[in-house]
Symmetry: C2
Subunit: 270 residues, 2 copies
Amino acid sequence: MFDARPIGIFDSGVGGLTVLEALTQRFPHEGFIYLGDTARVPYGTKSARTVERYSVQVADCLLRRGVKGLVVACNTASALGLAALRAHCPVPVLGVIEPGCRAAIGVTAAREEPGRVGVIGTRSTVSSGAYPYHLAMLDPRIQVLSLACPLFVPLVEEGWVDHPAVRMIVEESLTPLFAQRLDALILGCTHYPVLKKVIAETMPGVALVDSSAAVADDLGRYLGGVIRTAPPGQTRRLEFLVTDVADRFKETARRFIAGVEAEWVEMVDL
Amino acid sequence: MFDARPIGIFDSGVGGLTVLEALTQRFPHEGFIYLGDTARVPYGTKSARTVERYSVQVADCLLRRGVKGLVVACNTASALGLAALRAHCPVPVLGVIEPGCRAAIGVTAAREEPGRVGVIGTRSTVSSGAYPYHLAMLDPRIQVLSLACPLFVPLVEEGWVDHPAVRMIVEESLTPLFAQRLDALILGCTHYPVLKKVIAETMPGVALVDSSAAVADDLGRYLGGVIRTAPPGQTRRLEFLVTDVADRFKETARRFIAGVEAEWVEMVDL
């Protein structure tokens, strides 16, 4: 009744490692294969058609390696590619949008007035409308304000996290949300939690929703059900695949995750 | 003795339009097909192997459309892919590195002491060593200081050009060059001329070298020689190809070029 096969997790680059860290902490016996499509990062500026095509190629690579389920850690790929991936893959596919929306609804549920939720993400994630759609499914009264913050990803990728220029860019980017009396702000991109401190100081009194914990909850619901758990006591197996420049992946990975060492990184062609 | 076929020009995205503008002004009767690999931009963070592979795919697409010569406007593709492209293509291939180096040498030639030239570019361009190599070929005494400025491309792509945060990022990025008494600074990326004003104010007394004019000189040397000129009086033909999101290409193109309207943009699969 157990399944020793690993779970696939994919992102356009390194950002999804924040999700991987949450999953490895919650499920210490499960194996994971992480694939970062570093040759084609970023996804957040690409069209739906291109993101869909790239996502399916990544999924095929992970399926060939025998994964028993797939976690789409990238918000853009979840927003634009999830339907295609679910149609394509013979294993369960989890995205990050729905869990993030559930976590945001959890914040607003106690309010008497309709909740007010902000969503920040890449240009492609925001223009997909995936967050407003899923939030409305969970609570039709909810007010949603979406905002693309396209500079946050390059700032994080380049390690500009606590610099006065970053503070200025974050403040100016979030200005449209200041007067909106938000209850919660969804960090709708795996890179944004790295800027959490600056964002929190810029948006005082607003609950920040980082979906990685919510994704772990979701995977918990699948495991033991449609995805069988690993044999108890199985020694964890972690593999890292990238599509370009393995060295830089390791370096950037260090900025993202404390608990996972990406020592062995394999380069693959999709 | 004439050749009505167009000249191909390629870049990872929109940056090469600064080069296209210089070429269309200098050669009003030549036709050009511009290809921006917008699905896979940026090239500047990718490995030599990947940039080479992508460059050859782009060249094949332009060759299928019958170009009589190829201008590699992208500095990263010129730095990492030029040898492969010249081996692969049956038509003459021009890059931007050598012309830029010649222009910089022109600035330093009058000095009695060995010239001191700075080069800023993407991480991949800088780590390729292509600029120091070509500068040393032209003047073995020259002192070269190279510096990667990886945030400049996303700032320009997102239209952050004249903001105080941009000034802070430019100043902090260029700090290692301040004490170097440079004669010239090569803007070794097609995006950087857009930040010329801020860079000039940050590096007073240093001649900024923008290679687009130098590339036009180079093409002038080829035309009439290994590349035949267009029939006199030929009406200019301009075509634009992109690999993703044609609409955004048009919008960003407006920020780059005054003289060329990218009204018709075709999307291609490589």
